[in-house]
């Protein structure tokens, strides 16, 4: 009882220290007279920020947060070809593509006004500093505002909520290091709602316990997003392969945990290393953690790192707290009620499983990941790429890797599957215009796939034959959050058994899962043959000896 009390007090103390550290800085923005005035539009705030932070604008403009793309010449399938690829021009199997749907999609852009292809990516005043740095929680971008907050009180019909213009003076005077909620406001809600897209990145990470995520758990590491996702001049490390393609700026567990995490001390001791990691090891006294024992098993676990990602064992299930989409069939969309509004159907838990606007969904919670080889490189379908309709499902972002191949490791994935439109003549996946006013061709207003496809493909500058087919697609979402401590991680049997989680993985040899069937059959035949042989031999001996005694 007493022990528990001290433990609780220690935890409370740690949490308190942690939060005060986060707030401490060398400048208190609320004391700057420059920020203590009325701002009419968000760009005015940005201009004020850039007056002091006069290099930040240039830095931001190089980042994928701003460009929604990266230059790469290493994309599998296009090696050597310098291309720009990213959220802005890849295809997915949720709302399919950005082009022609900008004002809705770019409501999560760190800028103001990306409403079509003509957005000026060189105008520094269009940077939204506030969405990442404001600390009040009152700043909200309008869901269909191309990145702008609502200019006046506006109703968003998509969720039936009212959006107020922010108090720019208040938020400008309360800025600081990004909190979980700053990142979460976009990243938790990708795909148009909480937990829809990622499967391991949703509002549950806003304030989890360590049994949900050992690093972010308020009773565990209590880390915030940017403790791990450190930034070098606003270029934030870590990337997601639903949009990224090459092995660049990747974060790894090894940075802090070393390449032998099961036998080495968890955190590097030196202050320099600590600075490089960007993570405050003095927080929660993690540096005092003992070196693990060099047992047989710990050494074997260390050796696993050659082939198995940390995530494969330390992420047990995905979507443990919220429900995520795993199937989206666009071909079923279009059912409208008598008033012309899309029909919605819910399952017994209240999750939407059919929406006339979007089609049919399948959802998952506490789902077992699927496992694939992955070397950090993903080949994407870009706008205008041709597909092979005879090869179904179409893989939208194919993860490279194979057993024994360089840098390849087994990774846990959420695989998103669905059915989406393609042009049966040109064999291109169709970029439909979904969002827009009535008469614009947008599917969500005009309910006509022909018009939506025409408008979308036109905006992308691509041909459209007028012939629409429906095709099954698959998308790879590597999982890397919801990491659990060793007690909650997978056990050996989860993979090393005939009913292995890696049952379908093409792997060199997994003891306990794999066997050579002819050898097993021959071996058992030899064993039972020997048994039968000696039994018969013994029986004959017994009967003969009995006879002779008579």
């Amino acid at each position: 009882m007493k022990k528990n009390f001290f433990l609780t007090m220690a935890l409370v103390g740690m949490t308190f220290c942690a939060s005060t550290t986060a707030l401490a800085g060398t400048a208190d923005h609320s004391k700057f007279p420059e920020l203590n005035k009325k701002f009419n539009k968000p760009e005015d705030v940005t201009r004020e920020c850039l007056k002091c932070h006069n290099l930040a604008g240039k830095d931001i403009m190089k980042t994928s947060h701003w460009l929604w793309s990266r230059k790469t010449d290493k994309m599998p399938g296009r090696q050597g070809q310098m291309i720009e690829a990213g959220k802005k021009n890849i295809i997915n199997n949720f709302c399919i593509a950005l082009t022609s749907n900008e004002p809705r999609c770019t409501s999560c852009h760190i800028g103001y006004g990306w409403k079509d292809r003509n957005f000026d990516f060189t105008d520094e005043s269009k940077i939204d500093c506030l969405v990442c740095h404001e600390q009040t929680g009152t700043y909200k971008k309008f869901p269909a505002g191309a990145g702008y907050p609502a200019p006046v009180r506006t109703l968003f019909p998509g969720n039936n909520q009212w959006y107020d213009p922010p108090d720019y003076t208040l938020v400008a005077r309360n800025v600081g290091r990004p909190k979980r909620s700053n990142c979460g406001v976009c990243h938790f809600y990708g795909g148009g709602g909480d937990a829809v897209k990622h499967g391991a990145l949703d509002s549950a990470l806003g304030k989890p316990v360590k049994d949900v995520d050992v690093h972010m758990g308020t009773d565990g590491g209590n880390m915030v997003c940017v403790d791990c996702h450190v930034a070098d001049r606003h270029d934030i490390k870590g990337q997601l392969y639903s949009v990224s393609s090459d092995n660049l700026d990747r974060l790894s567990c090894e940075r802090c945990h070393t390449a032998k995490p099961h036998t080495q001390k968890l955190f590097v001791d030196s202050f320099e290393a600590k600075k490089e990691m960007g993570y405050d090891i003095f927080k929660n006294k993690l540096y005092e953690r003992k070196k693990p024992d060099e047992t047989f098993i710990n050494r074997i676990l260390d050796k696993h790192i050659d082939r198995i990602s940390c995530q494969a064992c330390h992420i047990n299930l995905y979507s443990t707290q919220k429900t995520t989409k795993i199937w989206w069939d666009w071909s079923k969309a279009g059912e409208l009620n008598a008033e012309g509004k899309p029909v919605k159907k819910k399952d017994k838990d209240g999750n939407i499983i059919y929406d006339g606007q979007k089609g049919e969904f399948r959802l998952a919670k506490n789902a077992i990941p699927e496992y694939r080889w992955f070397n950090g490189e993903v080949g994407h379908l870009l706008e205008g790429d041709k597909i092979d309709p005879s090869n179904v499902p179409v893989i939208i972002n194919e993860a490279s890797g194979a057993c024994g191949a360089k840098d390849s490791k087994v990774w846990p994935f959420k695989i998103m599957r669905g059915i989406q439109p393609y042009d049966t003549e040109t064999n291109m996946l169709i970029i439909p215009k979904l969002f827009g006013k009535k008469g614009s061709g947008a599917y969500w207003s005009d309910w006509d796939w022909q018009k939506a496809s025409e408008a979308g493909m036109k905006a992308a500058g691509l041909p459209f034959s007028g012939k629409i087919g429906w095709i099954e697609t698959e998308m790879n979402w590597p999982l890397t959050h919801l990491v659990l401590e060793k007690k909650k991680a997978l056990s050996c049997n989860d993979c090393h058994s005939r009913e292995s989680r890696l049952k379908n993985l093409e792997a060199c040899w997994i003891p306990g899962r794999d066997r050579n069937l002819p050898l097993d059959i021959l071996g058992m035949l030899a064993f039972f043959g020997a048994m039968a042989g000696v039994s018969v031999h013994g029986l004959v001996r017994y009967r003969k000896s009995g006879k002779q005694e008579e």
């Binding site: 098993i297 024994g404 040899w509 071996g523 030899a526 000696v534």
Partner: protein
């Protein structure tokens, strides 16, 4: 007539039973690692298999030393003389209550068939099991890097199945002495009952 003679020295008996226990335990844990059943759990099976494996290697080292220092290794020099008679005995003679074609003494413990069998065991099965076992161990722990442990695992399993069948016949053969339990008792006490031809 049946005579009792001192056949197996103390180390020999210890070596035999320790080896028997270890091999039984290695088979039990080994086939769990193979995925045949679940008793200890995969993790424990792996650890126990490793400990038992290293214990067996140490035992084998002592046994090799013993064989060479005592000259007992000569027992395994293959002899083809009377090999046919021995095979005929197990297939035919034994049912007719014939006596063993080769006399068992402390100096010549093994009949020609046993010589061949145990020689094969010592220079083929044991080296294959120890080598593949060690390679498997170092692949799992680091030290040896292989693209795949597949063929090591298959060879090791092949040897395991060989040992399994060997054990069945080996245990049955202990019943072919003057009495059913003569040879098993001998491995405990050292004193074996053997047939001595009446002069």
């Amino acid at each position: 007539m049946i005579k009792k003679i001192y056949m197996y020295k103390r180390f020999e008996r210890f070596w035999h039973w320790a080896q028997a226990l270890l091999i039984f335990f290695l088979a039990l844990t080994g086939f769990e690692v193979h995925g045949s059943y679940e008793i200890f759990g995969f993790k424990n099976a792996v650890v126990l298999h490793m400990y038992a494996g290293f214990m067996l290697i140490i035992l084998i080292a002592f046994a090799i030393f013993w064989h060479f220092t005592t000259g007992e290794w000569r027992q395994y020099i293959p002899k083809t003389d009377k090999l046919r008679d021995q095979v005929r005995f197990y297939l035919v003679g034994i049912f007719k209550n014939e006596s063993h074609p080769v006399e068992k003494t402390a100096e010549v413990k093994l009949n020609p068939l046993q010589r061949l069998t145990y020689l094969g065991y010592k220079i083929l099965i044991i080296p294959v099991m120890v080598t593949t076992g060690l390679v498997y161990y170092y692949v799992a722990h680091g030290g040896i890097h292989l693209q795949s442990v597949k063929w090591i695992a298959i060879l090791h399993t092949l040897g395991a199945f060989g040992l399994l069948s060997f054990t069945v016949i080996h245990v049955y053969m202990t019943t072919t002495g003057p009495r059913l339990t003569s040879h098993i008792k001998a491995m405990f006490t050292g004193y074996d009952e053997v047939e001595v031809k009446d002069k």
